[in-house]
Structures are given as C-alpha cells and as structure tokens.
Symmetry: C2
Amino acid sequence: TMADNTKDTKEDIKAPKPAANLQIKTPKGTRDWHGPDMLLREQLFQTVSDVFKRHGGTPLDTPVFELREILAGKYGEDSKLIYDLQDQGGELCSLRYDLTVPFARWLAMTSTQQVKRYHIAKVYRRDQPAIARGRMREFHQCDFDIAGVYDPMIPDAEILRIIVEVFDALKLGITIKLNHRKILDGLFAVAGVPAEKIRTISSAVDKLDKMPWADVKKEMVEEKGLPEEVADKIGVYVQNAGNITDIINYIKADADLPTNDDIKAGIHDMELLAAYLDALEVTDKVSFDLSLARGLDYYTGLIFEVINKPEPVADGDKKKKSKKDDPASQVGSIAAGGRYDNLVGMYGKKQIPCVGISFGIDRIFTILKARGENDIKKREVDVFVMAFGGGKDFDGLLVERMKIARQLWNAGIRAEYMAKAKPKLQAQFKAAEGTPLGVILGEEELKAGQVRLKKLDQGQGQKDEGNLVPIDDLADEVKKLLL
Amino acid sequence: TMADNTKDTKEDIKAPKPAANLQIKTPKGTRDWHGPDMLLREQLFQTVSDVFKRHGGTPLDTPVFELREILAGKYGEDSKLIYDLQDQGGELCSLRYDLTVPFARWLAMTSTQQVKRYHIAKVYRRDQPAIARGRMREFHQCDFDIAGVYDPMIPDAEILRIIVEVFDALKLGITIKLNHRKILDGLFAVAGVPAEKIRTISSAVDKLDKMPWADVKKEMVEEKGLPEEVADKIGVYVQNAGNITDIINYIKADADLPTNDDIKAGIHDMELLAAYLDALEVTDKVSFDLSLARGLDYYTGLIFEVINKPEPVADGDKKKKSKKDDPASQVGSIAAGGRYDNLVGMYGKKQIPCVGISFGIDRIFTILKARGENDIKKREVDVFVMAFGGGKDFDGLLVERMKIARQLWNAGIRAEYMAKAKPKLQAQFKAAEGTPLGVILGEEELKAGQVRLKKLDQGQGQKDEGNLVPIDDLADEVKKLLL
C-alpha cells in the first residue's frame, strides 16, 4: 500500500523505476489546462474580471483549504461532497467547496463592514464527474459579492446587472430565473408544509429542472412524508413563471398567499427590484420563476440562476442540431447566486448582509469551446533570430544569435532562437513558424554591424531576403513592424 | 468530533449557531490576500509572466492534487511534508508539493516533445511556518521550464538569463549560486564517499548555508557514518566559490579531480555555459559555488539558487539596519532550480530532458513589501454618480443615478453610486473619496437633459460645481477627462 510511503523514502530514492501498474493521469474529475484551452480560459477570466472591476470590485484570495469546522453545517445535503484532508496531526481541514463560505469567514475575522469583492479560483466537490457537461471535481468559480448594509434591493439589482454585462461581453444569450426565499417559504407555509420540513421540501422543488413534477411529488410524499394534498398545492404554485410584474400580480390575486407576512415582505422586495431592473435595462432577461429553490441553505432573500438560451433557430433552417448535441442545453445553470444575510453571523456576533453571484466558468468554457472559440491563434513570440551561412567554417553564430536576442529582450520584445549550435536554415524557418518577424544573421553582415530583418508571415518563404538594418537600430525597427 | 460530520447534516442545518470554541481563522501557515497586498501580488505575477512570455513561454495549469503515487519517491527526505487527502473512497491523492513533478507527469502523458512552459500557482508543504521570513504551508511558486532535446547548456543559459530579467524588472539585486550535480558527485567520489551514500551526503552539504561546517561534518560522520578524513576532504573542496572561470581552473589544477569522468563532463558543460552567459550578459550575477547541493533528488546537471543581495550600504551611512531586521537576509533563497533529465522518464519509456527555475513569490513579496511597495494606491473606480437636491420632495434620484451608471458601464467606464435611496450629498462625497470624477444629478438639470461632471481629486470639495454636460455626451466627456 501507499499509506506509509512517507516513511521509506530511502527505498523510493533507490528505485526511480515507475511502479508496474502506475497510471500516469490526473485524478478523476480533474484536468490539465494548456494550449488553446488555456488561452480561452485566460480570455474568459479577463472578460469577467473587467466587468467586476467596472463595478468597483476588489480581488480577494483565500487558502484552498479551510478549517473543517468553518465549512460544517453550511451546505445541507451536499456536505457529503466535501473533500477532507487526512489527519496528519494538527488542525482538521477540508478543501473549499465554494468561494462564498471562505468570503463569509474572511468578513467575520476582519473589520470590513462594506465591500464589493471578487474571487476567481478553483473549488472542490467529490461529485460524479460529467466531463461533456463541464461538471468536474476540481472546477472554477468566479464570484462577485456585495457585502454590507444598504437600502433594500439596490445591491441585488447591481448583481443582476453584472450578470447581464458578463454574458453580453461573452455574446451568450441568457435567461435569469429569479425567486425569493421569503416568497417560497411563505408559499410552502400557506400550502401547509410544517416549518421543520420547509428546507427539505425546498431541496425537492429545486430538482424540478432535472426531474418531472411526478418524481418530485413522489419524493415529497413518500420520502419526506408530506401529505399528498399539500404536495399538490405546491405543484400548482410552482408552475408559475413569467415577468416580474405578472407573477407579483398572480400572487396578489391568490386567495391565501397575500396574507402571509413572509410573502408580503418578499413582494415588497420584488416590486423595488422591478423598478431598479428597468433602470438598469435588465428586465427583458429575467423570469420570475416560483419553482426556483436553490439547494443551499444559507440563502435568505432573492435567489437566481442563469441558463443559457441559444439564439432561436430560424424556421427554414434545416441544420437544426438535436438538443442532445447542444452543450448549452446540457450544462444546466451557468451562473447562480442570491442573498445570504445570516451566513457571516454564523461565525460570531457581527452580522453582515450579502448578495452575490457565482459564475460556472467551466460550463461557460464548454459552451464557448463548442462554438469554436478556442481556435484563437495567439502570437507567442515576435521575433525569431536565425543564422545563415554555409561551408565548412560556418559555426552557427550561436553566441551572436544570443547577443541579438538579448538586445531584443532588453527592449521588451519577445524573441527566440534555436537551441542548437549549428542549425540548418530550413530547420530554423520551420521552428519560426507562426512568428511574424525573423532576424537573419550572416558573417559578412555582422562584420558591417548589420542584420537582415524579414517578415515571415507572408508565405514568401526564403525568397524575400528582408532589409539590412544596423544592429543598433534593430529593436526600434522591430517595434515599428509590430505595430 | 467532526469526523462524521458529513453524516448528520440535518442536525447541522438545524444548528446554525457557531460552536462555542470555533476559531475563525485560516489554517496554520495559510493566509488571505486582499487590498494592497493583493494588488502587489498581482503586479508581481504580471511582471514575472511578462518575462516568461518574452522568452516564448506558454501557460500550463494542473490540478491542485495529484495521484499519491505520482509524487512518491520524488522528494527524498522532504516527502514527509506532503499533504495527503483523506481516503474517502476512490483514488488516493495528495496536494502538489511543487510544480515540477506535475509538469513532468503532464509531459509523460502527452505527446509533447519540446515546450517552454510557465506555471504560477500555489503549492503545499506541511512545514513549520515562519511568516516573517515568508515561509508558509500554502505558498506560490512561479516556474519556467524548458523541456526537450537541445544542444548542451543553451536552454540552461536562457533560464539563467530569465532569472536576471525577472529580478532586474523587480529592481532586486541578486547573486545566482551555481553548481553542477556531476561535478559534485565526482567530487564526493574522489573524496572517497561510497556511491550509495552520495545523495545523503549531498543533502548534508546542502545545509551549509544554514549551519556551520562543523555541524555539517558532525552529521556526515556521526549520523551518516562517513570516515572523518573523507569529510575533511569534502570540507576543503566545498569551500570554493567564485567566478566560473576561476573555479574551473581550481578544479583543473587539482591533483585528483580532473581524472574523474563525471567531473570532466561537468567541466565541459560549465565551459560552454561560461561562453553563453557572457553573450547573455549574465556573467557578473553568478557565483560558481561548490558547496551548493540542492536537496531534491531529481537534479542531474546544472543546479542554481538565487539569493537577494541588497545594494551595498555606503560607508558613511549611519542608518545601517541590523541584519536581523532585514527581510532580505532572512528569507534565504528567493528562486532555485536546475536540470532534471530523468524525471519524466520515471513515469514511463519517454525520456525528456528538462531545465527550469522556480521563483519563491512569497519570499520575494516579503522583500518588496518591506521596501514599501504595497503602498500603491490603485484607482478602483473612475466615476461616482451622485444626486443633489433638497427639500421634502427630493426623492434621491436613485433610478436616475442607476440609468446614468448603466450608460457609463455600457461605455466600459468603471462607475459606482451609493446604494441608498435618499443619500445626503456629504455622504456621497465621502463615499466617492479616491474616485477621480463625479457626476452630479439635479432635478432641474435632468429636465434639461444635462448633468454636472466634476473633478473630485483636487481637494476643492464642493465649491467647484463642475461643468454641465448633455447626458448623451457624458461617456465621451468622461473618457476625455480620464486620459
């Protein structure tokens, strides 16, 4: 076994051969990032953090693991998915499950009263991976949260605006499904759900986007012991979705709902929100959906979930893809969040209300990649420094190529040369592929203090000999050509 | 106990009160990053990755944990510092200990033959933390490695050049200590160390920068069973350090050393390197130091370690700090690396020689911070949108402030407003502190389709009323003022 491998290091040192059955791979549900995928991911992070900064966001970074007690009791039924570190003496720790709880822990231990913070980092869940749908065990979250006491619904509206700006920048069509925990709780109470069952019934309702109503009802009645008529009443309420004003009117028109205090408070919030979303031009992207529940326990007010809505396909279009092939329809929600006013208070006396959004970067990545956006060719180097020469005495001019590259690096120019003492010219041109400029050194030219500077990206091969440039002017000439 | 906390989630849900003895902190040896520290860290990452890109580097990102077997037998005596994940069923995993082994694993499982890759990420070591010296359990490494078969010492020289460029960009004086594993091994062999003791004696020599020779000798003789006369012979050799040519000449002039095949091969490498470092203008930063051993087992050729060398203090300067107060003298090496030609081959048949450098970002951060470089004030928002008005009927113009902010966001401008329905003007000016521009809304002006645009950073308070600007031109006018 490997359990005691830290004790017999000396044997390991003497046995550098790989174990016969050693699998060379990343752990299940994890992956490496390199090449076009990595470039697309970096671009995605850049786009999102630009939006965050536009709204006054400041970055926070927290450790990848937290004290186990910090995470305890925050994730309801999902707690079983938390990765624990082995007890090797000292504190018991677990890998972070999201970025929200670490943020709340940070708020609780600092003097911060108000902050807009963003955090782009990996989180960990021991879930069954589903690579095609972008569901991994190690994946990225990209969070923006507004913490502090403000007038009602103003920060909530800004969070929704941020969602719209991010997906506009990514050119992804979306619908933001909205609901309010108070309305949902009030609705369960009016339907007859006992107080102690509200969270577990809420979890069941949350599955409605993955399961038909009949299955959800079965879970409520058979597993969770809800009377059938209560479940049926819930079933009627939660099938309502539409624009905010319509759903507010539906609730107000109901015989029972408007009398509940939670619902009254929730409706007041939603009326304020409707006005703010109009001002921020967000209204046409939202759907007030009474079936939206969100699994996590810590939400207390507005909750939301973003789904990708591909552009409608024209009627005449014969190339319709089946829904099964479309990653957008497979990935589920691509961002989600809500208001959590009590989470920070769970760590002590200080209570700081918060509202925030978490973007599922890996799912968004999956959609963008399916759209072909990782085909970006990014120029990695500006100049390739080559030697030209023939005959027995040609020494490859390695030291001279190094000196020219050094000069370019000093000027901030990205430059490479072939790591070979006597390279063939053909091999150097091949190594330079994709590089826009070449600098070609020859013994005669060097004696005259000159090199050849040549554009490489025009498919002219070696016929165009480029221009002779004094070595002292080379960096400036290169910069001119790169503009 | 917390061990079974995943099983009783329902009780956790019903008990949102914090445990009486719950400590709100990050785990030992870890920290949060926010504010000026975070901005300095981001700047540092940017500087380093700019240099890496200038040399044709491409980014790689790997999972934070690896299969435990991938890490086994790579770190010698330091293996005990590896963090293991708890066995929760499935694969046994450990947190990465460095970025080199994950890179080698990636090379072994892909078809890559040649690559310059960089990786900036956190690594994990269950070591005793020493915060003042920048030694943490979770800390950053920042690696650049060149993998592939090339002519000897050309990539090695480029790595040393990259070290110089990074520290030049950070304005940190350095010395790069160099040695060669083959020369060191040959030297041990000539001194009379049996082959099977060479690695463990090498580990002892590696401690010479932290311990006096007498203690190292004691470890060799008493703990590791080396005859005293062999230890003494080693002691004579390893006290030599100086410029490359001088140390080459010292070795060549020795009666015994030049006959050893390993030493011959190492000297050949060092002679090539000396010529290349001259061409790359690196020579005056390096010291060939025969006492440098490097603890890790996987090095096979050139090894190096970078120490911060503060600028010499002028004789007349009375303000000399004691060495104890100077973080530069406390942090130890701030970058280290070397050639490891056999590591990739440990994972299978494919052998890819590599050479690389790892920057200790947290130690470098500690030095820069002590120099006051986290005092950077970074403008986080460009414009603060405010409402001005009095009287009973003043409604705070919240929706109007939102509309103006929306317009600025649409133009890519960073804007905020106060999240209060009816804010006082004073409070808004206070909230706007540090923001260069203010947009002030008044009912009369809005009726005329105008707002006031005002510079806020000139200490003129509210006296300067700013200029009236048509709302439609606002974004353009703001952009002009931000230039």
